[in-house]
Amino acid sequence: MNGTRLVTCVALSVGFVLTQGMGYGQSTALTPFDKLPDWSGLWMMMGGTVFDTATQTGKGGVLTHGLREHPPYAELYEKKYEEHLARRDVDRFPDVITNCGVPVGYPRIMNLPDGYEFLVRPDEFYIITENGPNTMRVYTDGRPLPKKEDTWGTYTGVSVGHWEGDTLVWETIGLKGDRDNDSILDRTGLVLSDAAHITTRMRKINDNTLQAVLTIEDSKALTKPWVVTKQFRKQKPGLFMYDYGCAENNRNPVNTATGETLILGADGKPVK
């Protein structure tokens, strides 16, 4: 092998080795820690645990049919929603998390009571909630979203994002939606389909308020994008977060045959 070919061979070999060493999780585009915003602390969601802008503007009636801003549902999903509301009104539309078995999923993880932590790393962002508990991961290491055929529909889906200055922007796909009738957006019965694609923009709007603006698109369930906003208020420093054993003392099991949410009395038997 002459000198030129040897140099070329070595260069190609070194390049090959270096690229093999990279793969997922390594990107030159990572935002360093000292350039990331400070979202530390314990946060609580503002407004009710119902997913629409009416709760943010204080228009009220969040549990009352007819006073909320409906999503721009397509006909089939509008019918589903009306049916859910009717069953809710007679306590036959149980909240899927009441039997303590499944994650709340996305976007409902943005809609919970109790404490939140938002953990920011250059390669990944985590939402951790006490309630549930629930966890959501957003990969910010430069990887692309998987292809639709490489997802199989989970409660929280798959999320990939990037930083635009102080704003985290991420996309979520691969949600199961209402496929198995065990994932809702809130207890009035808002649901999405497994075609949902959500773009979220999250940033601090002041020292004590984080705001997430979600643009929800769903080719099966919605006729146009639905934009919703959730805000989180920072709590005073020094507070602790705790675990949450949903099944620790669950006195509200669901009668899965009827859909009724029971209340267990002092003797452990249902009362109504």
Binding site: E130, Q235, L239, M241, Y242, R251, K272
Partner: protein, 126 residues
């Protein structure tokens, strides 16, 4: 006579009692009951206060009062010792519609005058 010390923990009224499940079974009307605490279940997903109440016929009925998660209640100063067994307490509650001795906790007034939650107006939601 010792001065009565009344301490309001108004913020506790904002704790979402019904977060774990829908609350359609509870009445919107309030009621006041007085009884003796039997047990305070400071557990997830909901705390429960078990209270023995003597009805007009002299029969003791155990009421179950549902409250919030200990996670947020704990951060607001509630402890397992907040409702000690044997304490005589008056409760403002939202009973279940069926008439069973089960209700959503709204507020409590202890014999020494201190209050937990938001106690406004008179009994029966006025």
């Amino acid at each position: 006579m010792k001065p009565v010390c009344v301490v309001l923990f108004a913020i506790l009224a904002a704790v979402p009692v019904l977060a774990h499940h829908a609350g359609a079974g509870f009445s919107q009307e309030t009621k006041v009951i007085t009884g003796t605490v039997k047990q305070f279940q400071f557990l997830n997903p909901h705390s429960w206060i078990q209270v023995n109440v003597t009805d007009d016929a002299g029969k003791v009925v155990e009421w179950s009062l549902e409250w919030g998660s200990p996670n947020e209640l704990g951060r607001q100063g509630i402890r397992p010792s907040t409702f000690p067994a044997g304490a005589r307490v008056t409760f403002k509650i939202r009973p279940v519609k069926s008439g069973a001795p089960v209700a959503a906790f709204q507020a409590a007034k202890f014999e020494d005058g201190h209050i937990i939650g938001k106690w406004e107006g008179d009994a029966d939601g006025q």
